[in-house]
Amino acid sequence: MASSPYVIVDELTIDIRTANGVLHAVSNVSFELPQGEVLCIVGESGSGKSMTALGLMGLLPGMATRKAKRLVVEGRNLLAMSPLEKSDFLGNRMAMIFQEPMTSLNPCFTIGNQMVETIRRHRNISARDALTQASKWLEKVGIPSSAGRLDQYPHQLSGGLRQRVMIAMMLMCEPKLIIADEPTTALDVTVQAQILQLLSALQRELGLTMIFITHDLGVVSRIADRVAVMYAGQFVEYGATREVLKSAQHPYTRGLLKCLPVPGRSARGAHLGTIPGSVPSLTGDMSGCGFANRCEYVAPDCLTSTVPLADRENEHRVRCLFRPEELISGRTAAGATP
């Protein structure tokens, strides 16, 4: 829509100080997201996907440091904002939903109470108007008989309802950018589908830009316009959803897709594909390709040279030295761990 991208992240790097040294949670993550699009960041635990989200929001834990060339949202430079400006901007333009709504809702106050508080923190309106607003938004997220719900406490709601309440609370301040960190992971499959349906409908209706963090490739395929596959703190593959999922080029993405048991597609009872080994330590020296120790196509160059996120056709970017057709299994014995 807009001529310049709505979100610009340029070389975002997040280091965390730990007892065992500095952990490179996120290394040089860059992307641009036009207004109204959905970017999914997909990766396994420890890949740095949540850290990227928190880093963007500026909600990092104390031991973490954030570095970036540029962090721009809606043409405003997040890095240059004063704390006051930032807290204002965060509530009004950017909002975040978390995996476990129970921990983000205060158990001591009613839903209505918390919603009114949230609106009035950002907007100068009366409590009565705020309450009307709150019930309007609850209806919008598909909670019927919302007047009664406003008097309920978080523990009286099911997980799905709580997540809907969280979405309503987040949308009340009319943000333009939403960062959703595994918002459906803790939910049952049927509820997950309903919540995704709702989020996606609202996103389209309100023209929201969304960054969606998940580990589930199934979810990615259904809601994302673009996908970033994250591994060991880096984007290893980035592009349009169809492009990445249908013609995955990075060995990690290809491996992940083979790991999934898909009803009707993977042969029942047959062996699934695996990615041997486990995620490397993110502390200390990080030279070479992060995936080299688990990659079946590993070559000597992979262990020594820095692998860039290279542009391929169709705005598809891949962090691999080789094109898929150049990948040869078992080039060296190194990295072949059980």
Binding site: N20, G46, M51, S278, P280, S281, L282
Partner: protein, 299 residues
């Protein structure tokens, strides 16, 4: 995000854990500080017969109420001066440490065994067992410890053994409460379920699966109880119903010094600081040990 370090431990040599835990031991400030202080007190106590410059019971009325060496009139013959009977204060302090540590340890162990077993049973079995044990704890908590100790010791007569026994029977409640709380968390862990499925007896589960996971909390309580036993013993002795003179308990030393507190304050301050020093070192060490022995390590 919690799995980040898990992979990094793969392929560690077998001795790695030992090396790591030892280095962690030495890098913890509380442990180093508390440990050093405790070692000093322990050495003083254990080596008192060898190191003490004088016999702690030997009176020398001519030399009574000598000030410590750093004050005017003090001398190196009596580094910390003498008390109102002319006994060497340093020697009494060192022998007194023996008493304090003995009482602290013995009390903590008696009450630890008692309280921990009650807490484990209450937490693991729950239901009626829990109700009964928690009732006993509640009753215990409503008993004023010092008053009961005073009364009992008054009745039976004060001696080292009686003080240990009374304090041991009075200080177990913290063990019970902590052990119960931790056991209740552990009880629902899948490894307990798994042990039950395999056919382990409850006793075996409590001893081999639950207890090792409760121990690091118990160590902290142990140190706290030890510290408070030492303080209570000093109080009882101060009040004249604890360890009986001429045994050089720190409490007795403070009691005897209190008459001179305005003109010879060191008579109270020296055993007072010794008490503070010992209790502080035990508490620091306890906190540190908890940090180190928990499987997750610090932070």
């Amino acid at each position: 995000m919690t799995d980040q370090t898990a992979g990094s431990n793969r392929g560690a040599p077998r001795t790695w854990w030992g090396v790591f835990s030892r280095s962690k031991f030495l890098s913890h400030r509380g442990v180093v500080f508390g440990g050093t202080m405790l070692v000093i007190v322990l050495a003083a106590a254990l080596l008192a017969p060898v190191l003490a410059p004088h016999d702690p019971y030997q009176q020398a009325l001519l030399n009574r109420l000598k000030p410590p060496f750093w004050m005017e009139g003090g001398s190196w013959t009596y580094p910390l001066g003498t008390d109102h009977l002319g006994r060497d204060y340093l020697s009494r302090l060192m022998f007194g440490a023996q008493i304090s540590i003995l009482i602290g340890l013995a009390t903590a162990i008696i009450s630890g065994v008692l309280g921990t077993s009650m807490g484990l049973a209450a937490g693991y079995f729950g239901g009626r067992v829990d109700a009964v044990i928690m009732f006993i704890v509640t009753v215990k908590l409503s008993i004023p410890t010092i008053l009961v100790a005073l009364a009992v010791v008054q009745l039976v007569g004060g001696s080292l053994q009686i003080v240990i026994l009374v304090l041991g029977l009075l200080l177990w409640h913290q063990f019970a409460v902590v052990a119960r709380a931790v056991t209740m968390q552990i009880r629902d862990m899948d490894y307990i379920t798994s042990a039950r499925m395999v056919g382990c007896s409850s006793l075996r589960i409590l001893a081999t699966e639950v207890l090792p996971n409760v121990l690091n909390q118990i160590i902290v309580v142990l140190t706290l109880t030890m510290a408070s036993a030492i303080v209570i013993e000093a109080s009882l002795s101060f009040l004249g119903v604890g360890v009986q003179p001429p045994l050089p308990s720190w409490g007795i030393m403070i009691a005897e010094g209190k008459e001179h507190i305005f003109f010879r304050p060191w008579l109270v301050m020296i055993p007072g600081f010794a008490l503070l020093f010992l209790v502080l070192s035990i508490n620091l060490l306890g906190d540190g040990l908890r940090d180190i022995t928990s499987p997750q390590g610090r932070g």
